[in-house]
Symmetry: D2
Subunit: 151 residues, 4 copies
């Protein structure tokens, strides 16, 4: 599925928030996807210095969208939920999503977010949040409004 990951990496780069966050697509094929992002203390924290819940949601929602996209093409998030089960502290974060059911009208995805402790590798990944998302396939590609106005 080289094509799927290539297309999804391109979508990832077309999202200004993902570029700002430094989200990187590490896997995207067959209903599964993986994202990685480095922690930045200066603009990603909540009041206690953990990763902000919005960033947790962003990673879970984004990886869910990419997992769905491997089976359903362009999708839009319709609903998602997040369980914050441990303080999100780490030098980097890894989000993994997998399609539970790809229907014609709705794609259901489950996702997990792991924190990578300072000075450790993947063997030390710790589950910090879980999520569920429902994505709706988009028939036609929605043009980016700003790009359209520049055209």
């Amino acid at each position: 599925m080289l094509d799927a990951i290539k297309a999804i990496k391109a979508i990832n780069q077309s999202a200004s928030f993902n570029r700002w966050a430094g989200c990187e697509v590490h896997q995207a094929a067959d209903g599964q996807a993986e994202l990685r992002m480095n922690w930045r203390e200066e603009d990603m924290g909540q009041y206690a210095g953990f990763l902000h819940a919005g960033m947790i949601a962003a990673l879970l929602d984004t990886v869910s969208g990419y997992a769905a996209a491997t089976q359903a093409g362009r999708v839009l998030a319709s609903h998602f939920s997040v369980n914050c089960i441990s303080p999100a502290i780490g030098r980097a974060f890894v989000a993994r999503g997998r399609v539970v059911k790809a229907g014609r009208k709705q794609v259901f995805v489950a996702a997990e977010l792991y924190a990578q402790p300072e000075g450790k590798g993947d063997e030390a990944l710790k589950l910090v949040a879980t999520g569920n998302a429902i994505l709706v396939p988009v028939e036609e590609i929605q043009p980016k409004p700003a790009a359209a106005s520049r055209a």
Copy 2:
């Protein structure tokens, strides 16, 4: 409730993500809160140029936390869900939260996110997302790890 809003504005400024996003606390008293944030195309968009779902979640989760804090003091988000009901397009976004039930162990909050169309005022606010959050009161203030290490 001048003190509540003052304390919550201070918490808001202590979160690096909220400073980056330019979130402003407009109201926080009696179980209700309101946040405002200006749209920035260059770092807040998803692939189609709408406000990123992570930003939608961040605003809903943050306003829910502030609504809860007016009744329960320091809280941590435990669970939240988001319904994306219309494309989140606007020059600014307004998030409003209200406590549904403040229990001893859990505070339930409902929230809405509105988009302010370009060139229009509050009378034109359009509902773009709804959310629900469960927050858990924190007995002791969690020191900010990075700040602690600098001390």
Copy 3:
């Protein structure tokens, strides 16, 4: 909207679970619906004698479906969530739902469940649970399998 409520009462009677539970449709028009059900200790309780969470979900999901049906016709529940905010104790229960957004592919509904204390009227209704549902419009009426096989 006499027709809507008549059609929805007929749907309600066609569901064997709703007949068993004694659910009654009290309102169904313009994106809103109301259901009532009497408490029965002998077959509706959880271990502590409160209304079972499944019954709470059933009432919230059902009223959400009827609220959606007033605007979208036949629908199927796709996702729903329930917050149990107070012990569900009462002689009767009242569920109210209202459409938040009726889209072409998905209808978003918010709902509340109230308990009516023993010996009191509607003025004493107490909020015991809140819910959110996403319903998907069904193009064609799904025949009841058992009814079809009997035909």
Copy 4:
């Protein structure tokens, strides 16, 4: 963990709704639980003759509570969500839950509901719904009001 399953079977029998539904506890140990229930057309259906969403929620919520109880003792459901991913049609239903995180204040559980087609065994189980639940440990056992009044 013979004791855990024995205690949970006793709790299951103390819930009048579970007795009515014929829910049987097949497993309950080490953060996992399994329930089984036979389909009854005459009192468990929604309008199209599938298993009612309230019954789906009841099974998912109940199995989540039992999975949590193996690690946290008596618990009360605080929040749960259900994804209905396929029509719930079968001669019996199997619900499985597993604890994702057992915290001091909240226990997070993920659950699945499978349908067993007519005339087939476990090898043909089909996933029809998924769920997530948050349960709150109860310090003291809540006496069953009716039982207490009979005492």
